[in-house]
Symmetry: D2
Subunit: 168 residues, 4 copies
Amino acid sequence: MSFEIVSSILKRRGVCIEDIAEIVYELQLPYHPQLTMEECVNSVTAVLNKREVQYALYTGIALDELAEQKLLPQPLQSIMEADEPLYGVDETMALGITSVYGMIGLTSFGYLDKEKKGIIEKLNNNKSAIHVFLDDLVAGLAAAASARIAHRYEGAKNYSIPSDIERS
Amino acid sequence: MSFEIVSSILKRRGVCIEDIAEIVYELQLPYHPQLTMEECVNSVTAVLNKREVQYALYTGIALDELAEQKLLPQPLQSIMEADEPLYGVDETMALGITSVYGMIGLTSFGYLDKEKKGIIEKLNNNKSAIHVFLDDLVAGLAAAASARIAHRYEGAKNYSIPSDIERS
Amino acid sequence: MSFEIVSSILKRRGVCIEDIAEIVYELQLPYHPQLTMEECVNSVTAVLNKREVQYALYTGIALDELAEQKLLPQPLQSIMEADEPLYGVDETMALGITSVYGMIGLTSFGYLDKEKKGIIEKLNNNKSAIHVFLDDLVAGLAAAASARIAHRYEGAKNYSIPSDIERS
Amino acid sequence: MSFEIVSSILKRRGVCIEDIAEIVYELQLPYHPQLTMEECVNSVTAVLNKREVQYALYTGIALDELAEQKLLPQPLQSIMEADEPLYGVDETMALGITSVYGMIGLTSFGYLDKEKKGIIEKLNNNKSAIHVFLDDLVAGLAAAASARIAHRYEGAKNYSIPSDIERS
């Protein structure tokens, strides 16, 4: 049920799973030409089923919404309204999402957070809403889903060791 | 001025700089017998002067206070009221504080977060308030201030390299 | 096969899976009185099956072994021989293991890294070997395996949201 | 003296401070048009003076060099030779550098690690050497130096709070 909650909250903020899957598709296609959108949707869904990911999303989105409603205490309200570039708590929170399939996700996270592809750009350009956290969290989601795909596709490769190690 | 803001907000939540400095003192005294409380207060002050630390504190404390006022959207409100042990966003946010003097602070952070010494225990036992974030953030502050002291005391040690490396 | 490789390398360094499972058992028993050692062994095994965990172990153990063989370039060789408390790369690398089940593992990691329970203490006291990385990595493994158990036991709890959110 | 050591080791691996400063300059110029190369060199120098940064560089570069000399134990030697994309320990180690001026550096790190600008591309294209760690570490250095510049330029901005908070 918690997946339904988190996806409905994302939808409320203008983000659907396909939006995130499209970013994953664009990011991973060069490395895996046989990749399908369905696999990307599945990968985003798998990431969204992780409890720590849901909790980060609940928290970041709550902060965005409370800022829109001007309910945050000062000076946080002003910092969020200014989308202060030195804030950094959004990147920290996204790190908690990005790292669920290992630190290889850091590269994609940073790239997406700077290049602002697809839905991330839309969130960023929507000046009527506050998306201090959501753009980073979506970049983190796409990065984690990409890392998951990378792990799956590379799954067969094995690095052997000389057999005497196992005996020693 | 931002130091005055962050220390007044901490005070509003029942934490003064000396409370944190006492934890640092207890943690570092075994390694540095000549350590004084004044140095510990200075170290906590230095950590609190860092902007990323202030931002993490504003954010975490805002979440605690909004939870007390029952202003958070669901399901976050219930998660915060339950002090859900799997929440993890508090630890993630504390990581952003703990790491300002390098990752050596991770050990002290985890130790303090589990042992709940001094003011951390008081925060944790105060059942009339919500301190989901504050106890982790204070553990993070004490860990960062301890790491800073460790860096200062060990400052003189130098590891040399064979002189031909510098020539090569 | 990669699980066999990583467990044989751990064994070569004096650590067997049961050693790590015992730490997990001690750590989690107070929260889950019905916990069995078998579950702890399974949890450690699950963590060790993650590729990013294996890679961190290969790397940290290689550095320990190369330091014993005096094959590291200076000044790293001297830093490792001194088990320099400010080194921090060992904690950073352990973070990559600890975080595979979310940042809730940070607390256990830091606690174990300071308290040095069971096999961690043995590694630390063995003065004939260099275990700069291994003690932190084992603390990271035990912390991740503990986080995994916490996630499993709490799996049933759900935080509901008012039904109108899903309709909105 | 430790700055001389770390800069000489970087030079040995084909990286001079100006190479890193150029990346910082390109990254930060759009935000701070009055930025000079001298400031970027100073910022890189400040980052390289941090002990935790030096330790990460010593360690990552040692692993690259030992891989070139085929001195790493298996399966790590093969993983490094293949520049395995799922390795992730290089990103983890770079995180320890990137975070020294807060988590805002994560975005630049990921961007640089993917776009491979300037010296990072040269390191990556040099097929006669192994730079599994160095390209990530240089991206981490440039990201940290950029974060430092961002903190300095924005230093004057202050978010005030209603005066009654300080009285309460």
